[in-house]
Amino acid sequence: MATTDIPTAATTPELALQQWLDQRLAAPAAHWLRDNVASLAGPDAGSVDRHLYRCISLVSRKLGKAPLALEPAALALADRLRPGWDPAHWTIDQAARIRLLLATGADSDSFVRRLDQLCATADIDELVAFYRGLPLYPDPPRHRARAAEGVRSNMRVVFEAVAQRNPYAAEQLADEAWNQLVLKAIFVGSPLHLIVGLDQRANAPLARMLGDYAHERWAASRTISPELWRCVAPFASGPLLADLARVLERGSPAERAAAVLALRTSPQPEARQLLDRHAALRDTVAARGTSWASVLEFI
């Protein structure tokens, strides 16, 4: 069903979540959720903690974990209500857990305390939900340590809940934490093009670290993600440009195409000269409309 059927569009992310869940849940499940949202928002704050923790755990048993499967109109609404919010890949359990969490109110002291408690005892799917919800929480700067903790997770799905399709990290993380996020994505083979704000947050220390990483991999005769060069080129000069020249000469087709995409963003005259030296490749990449989202498939 299309969200355009809804007479009035939701005015807040939590109301949008409620609306989407109402559309997708069977009546008993929808009632369960609505009842609990109402009781969490009620005046009896003393019992909220215990009730919230129980409800959030029960979500997968009560509501299941099917995809939320939002229509384009709903995704557009999400982006209007909270710029950058992208619930395209959210599931029902994730949406419901965030809905319940947001029902407890916007007092950020209580919110942070409860979120810490929830994360301390969370199962994997709960952690994914809590990290995907980061852009919706009150008082955004207060969740920086939480986001950095998610980046440290050894469970890839948890890391990617912060790193991919989530605007929070680019908006809030300091350079040190941001650079760790990008390095870790490269390190674990997680695609960079799903990281929101990758180009805007590029910085010289990150380019240096990625260059060093490339040399480590070359020394060990291991492969390197072509996407790495995206964050290097804007700051490439001297040895980093020499690295890009090496990729253009000796890289795989995807790496060479990535080097072309990267060098196109470089302000250096030497970058232009490098591209001229590989004009045929440069023109092929342009003619095919290769982008960072498709470069891994370049052959």
Partner: protein
């Protein structure tokens, strides 16, 4: 043949064990919360341990194609530290509704002290409140009396016997357990508890109804392949295949399936094993190539021959 090990402490085991278990046909495990060999001194240790059962260990098992479930509870040994036990009772409700939690357990008696009795009863009450199954650990010492007492108290507290597993049985306890309508778990230990040879005779005598085997493998001398090895021995000794399947797979599924948290669909209609979920450098797969899809057969790891 597929196997379920419905009582095994994987947190204490290595990745070699996971690989061998998968190769030997173990498709799912249930990890009961228990003690760590030395007593914990504060509730934070319990929080981190219980969180690892619903989080990290479940994730780790999945990397090897094994479905991981758990039970949550305060074990009998640590029930003897009253201040700690009170704090643990406060946090247990936070875990009981998590995904993959199939029962309250393993709980019961060790020494049979008053404090053990107090927290056994309190957790039986919790199981009733949360409408959950119970896994009961029976004591090593004074086993028969301890087993009878465990069942009497469970009934007194209003638990239905078909929703309670009495574990670590032997030839002396099994009749009483079955007669009262409980499920009878048998733990196969290389040196103590039951051996595979004795288990074959138990099944020959009592059949396979409500009887099932487990390894209880942990940080001590124990064998994570005990279930497949015993299944194989049963077949060799002429036990009917349906009885082997019931005692090594189907009965565990039947009793814990009542929780709604473990289902054959999890492996018959599975998400592909995706070892890319792992992190190099700080992962359980250090330096190996991730395997995507089916975990490769490692026959040399799957020798389930019993030592002679």
């Amino acid at each position: 043949m597929r196997f379920i090990d419905p009582h095994i402490h994987m947190s204490s085991r290595t990745t070699d064990d996971y690989e061998r278990m998968k190769a030997a046909g173990v498709i799912a495990v249930i990890e009961p919360a228990f003690w760590l060999g030395q007593p914990r001194t504060n509730v934070g240790s319990f929080i981190d341990y219980l969180s690892s059962l619903v989080g990290w260990e479940r994730f780790r098992a999945a990397q090897f194609g094994i479905h991981h479930y758990c039970t949550i509870g305060l074990n009998s040994k640590e029930a003897n530290n009253e201040a700690l036990a009170e704090a643990v009772m406060d946090i247990l409700p936070r875990y009981l509704s998590k995904e993959g939690v199939v029962a309250v357990g393993e709980i019961g008696y060790d020494d049979g002290s008053a404090l053990e009795d107090k927290y056994y009863r309190a957790q039986l009450q919790l199981a009733r409140e949360f409408d959950m199954l119970v896994m009961v650990h029976t004591p090593h010492r004074d086993k028969k009396a301890g087993t009878l007492r465990s069942m009497a108290v469970a009934l007194e507290m209003g638990l239905r016997p078909d929703r309670v597993v009495i574990d670590h049985n032997n030839e002396e306890t099994v009749r009483d357990v079955l007669d009262r309508g409980f499920w009878a778990g048998f733990t196969l230990y290389p040196q103590t508890k039951m051996g595979s040879e004795r288990m074959v005779e138990v099944v020959r005598q009592y059949g396979s109804e409500r009887i099932f085997v487990n390894s209880s493998a942990d940080w001590g001398v124990s064998d994570p392949l005990a279930v497949p090895k015993t299944g194989r021995l049963m077949l060799e000794r002429g036990i009917a295949r349906k009885d082997v399947e019931a005692t090594c797979y189907g009965n565990a599924l039947a009793v814990y399936g009542q929780s709604g948290q473990i289902s054959e669909a999890h492996w018959l209609a599975p998400a592909a094993v995706d070892q890319r979920q792992l992190f190099e450098g700080n992962s359980v797969l250090r330096g190996q190539e991730p395997q995507v899809g089916a975990v490769a057969e490692r026959n040399e790891l799957a020798d389930t021959t019993l030592p002679k």
